[in-house]
Amino acid sequence: MNFTPAVLLAVSLCGYAIGAGGGLLFLRRERLANLFCFGASALSALSGLAAAMLFLVGGAGATAPQFELFPAPLPYLHFSVWLDPLSAFFLLLVSLLGVAIAIYSLGYARGYFGRKNVGVLGALFNALALATTLVVTADNVWLFLVAWEIMALAAYCLVSFEHEKAEARQAGVLYFIMAHIDAVCVILGFLMLFQAAGDYGFASLHDIGAKMPPGRRDAAFLLFLVGFGIKAGVVPLHIWLPAAHPVAPSNVSAFMSGVLIKTGIYGFARVAFDFLGAPPLWWGVTVLTVGTISAVLGVLYALMEHDLKRLLAYHSIENIGIILMGLGAALIFLHTGNPLLATLALVAGLYHTINHAVFKGLLFLGAGAVLHATHTRNMEEMGGLIRRMPQTALFFLIGAVAISALPPLNGFVSEWLTYQALLQGFGTTNSLMRLIFPLSGAMLALTSALAAACFVKAFGITFLAQPRSEHAAQAHEAAPTMLLGMGLLAGACVALGLFSVQFVRLLDPLTQQLTGQQLSAQLSAAHGLVLTSLTERSGTVSTLGLSLTGLCLVPIPFALAWVFARRTKVRVGPTWDCGQRSLTPRMEYTATGFSKPIRMVFKALFRPHREVQREYDFSPYFAKTLRFDSHVEEVFEQQIYRPARVMILRAARRVRALQAGSIHVYLLYIFGTLVLLLLLFAI
């Protein structure tokens, strides 16, 4: 058999389906179910990865494979998939994460043996992976929407997988509601496109915006922005993210944060760059602004968290913001007629998409390993884990460095490209609008710095110093398959950082499709070792060179030490403990304490709630008990969602009067409606 992308994609889709079926078949045999389901999804994802790579390496000239899954019973409905460069890029992302997470799950799901049904977990995981793959490869609106809905349902089931916890149930319902608001917007948007095109195929929707009246086009754009924005988790539509990610099983959180929210980006990129045609200025400005706000607020709220997985969820919001900054800038450049710069910004956004998938997947997997070992998500109860789980700590550190955008890892490359696009954007137009570029550039800089601070906290409080609780003291290293899963993603972080120029070349067919430009030649210098930003003047960087330089610098301190300190004596003594008897975990820096300065600086935004209760007998200086309570509540939760909820409930109570409870009244409703309609028809 010939291994073409089409065949590999078909194999991958079938594999997921078989995995899902197998999980249900082996409900009673958890070990077999675990091995079968996650084995199947790992192999399917591998096949999908191969399909995407083969197609992308084939370059712009490769023909798009397209085939029907099974014959459709109804007209219009075609269960057919294709690979065009944009699909292939997202298939690459989905499958890459799929492989690593499936392997990790082989070990992680063992934690559920005897407690929860692993067969169900495996089946749902496969269903989610299948639906996500279909979302990014569907070649028509129907299949896209069907897969979109299956994806939302599977994710809902997985979020409330541990449904014995009230928290998981609530998060599930919240996700369910948000997912359906998002589905409504997306469906309406596609219906508007369909009205103009008269066909549901993606191929015939290409550049359809040109045929639509401007008002409708703008309405469609806004619908898509809200719909895909909810899925991606942009502020202020993000509230499901910090609720749903922490309570889901960690492999699922990794998949949701790494892949699921990226389908929102896929949808947006598909619609904004492929379907809607030449964008007016305000589209790009809106997207750039929304992205900037998401990035800054995401990281600020992340800093306030001491639940490890919630912290990571807020970072997803931040990174989605950074991705949207790239895409928004690209839309502005398309408007101002700078296709090259638009391509640069697009490459930056998409590069950050895959980077975020990789390092956030890695971090969630690491958090899962920590959770598995300590049975808590609260960072204040962790500490000292680096001694007990050194490999997990190493992988988590790699992820943390990558997300903090430190060279030479992948986060650095894409954020650097985003900066370049933003900074060069200042010169492209003379309107006052151009001020938005340096402003969002500055915000991006702030975001990166705060993200770095946040991960100093996350890594330091979790892994360093002494264990703060019994659980943390008894932690153990994760299972080998879990380590392998994390290792794969850590490797991907390093590879995407070091071989950025080579990766940008893979994006060529994609940019050719969306903006008609190919950038890899202009972006690479010195035979692909150095990444430049179109003009030599604005900057070049080589992650390979940076790491080589770093490696060369390593021996220097040793050499200096050898030269100057050879003769001094080494004395080992106890850590200074301020005269106390010994150091205890109670003296450690807490996560709340670490983030206090930032909480104070951004007091106006956070409005922290603090409460001190002191009980004393005769003098306030000799307190018997002291209680301190401090928490930060989200502005959006208070100002937007709570009033909305109250209003909806009030309206629902009114409507309930209709539900009289008497069959006759219901029958009368039907009867009355019928007669009324007939009367209207007759007159």
């Binding site: 009289a660 069959i663 006759h664 029958l667 009867f671 007669v675 007939l678 009367l679 007759a682």
Partner: protein, 222 residues
């Protein structure tokens, strides 16, 4: 097919359909439960007659299967089932509708007029029995009215069945040439199953509430 034969058939169908409507009106005014069931059986028999006429006169032989099914199901089986149910749960025979008899008659008359008005644009287009569509509509509407006017679950089942008769009439007399047999058989079995389920429900309601009055079901509302 010689023209006089279709002419006769058309008139016959109109006659039978009108008789169905008459039986429907009788159902509205009849106060005894058993008599109600028998009226329904007779109405179904008329429907069987219409189906047979359509089948013979127009050579649409698959309609004959519908006729046989109607005969077996609605004329024999369902009335027998309902009568047995009535005897087994030993309820009082008299029906107490919400709206009294003369008012019901007036309402049904109004509904019939309405259906004639609504169906006017189509009557000239109909290929046979130009009166059948309004009659079918009238059956449907009065059936619905019956359903909301009756207290006891079993009389509501009967009303549902007459509504269904109206739909069958429309299907057979107007569109059957286009409507596949499978659909009709599907509808038919739907009805049979629905009646079975409702029969069991009636039993349960009787057990739980010691009455068949569905008005008492609102005690279930929280």
């Amino acid at each position: 097919m010689n023209p006089p034969a279709t002419e006769v058939a058309s008139r016959l169908i109109t006659l039978l359909a009108t008789l169905m409507l008459v039986f429907q009106l009788l159902l509205v005014v009849q106060q005894m439960l058993i008599a109600n069931i028998r009226l329904f059986a007779l109405q179904s028999l008329l429907l069987t007659g219409i189906a047979t006429v359509v089948a013979c006169a127009y050579g649409a032989w698959h309609v004959l299967i519908v006729a046989v099914l109607t005969l077996l199901g609605k004329v024999i089986f369902l009335p027998w089932l309902l009568q047995r149910l009535v005897r087994r749960i030993k309820i009082e025979q008299e029906i107490h509708p919400f709206v009294n008899m003369p008012a019901s008659m007036l309402i049904c008359g109004a509904l019939t007029v309405l259906s004639y008005v609504v169906a006017r644009p189509f009557t000239s287009l109909a290929r046979l029995g130009s009166n059948t569509l309004p009659v079918a509509l009238a059956l449907l509407l009065t059936g619905l009215f019956l359903m909301s006017n009756r207290r006891k679950a079993i009389t509501q089942v009967l009303a549902l069945l007459t509504t269904e008769n109206g739909m069958m009439l429309a299907a057979i007399a107007l569109t059957t040439y286009g409507m596949p047999l499978v659909v009709e058989i599907g509808i038919f079995f739907d009805v049979v199953v629905a009646v079975m389920v409702l029969g069991i429900l009636v039993f349960r309601i009787r057990e739980s509430f010691d009455s068949m009055d569905v008005s008492k079901l609102n005690e279930l509302k929280w």
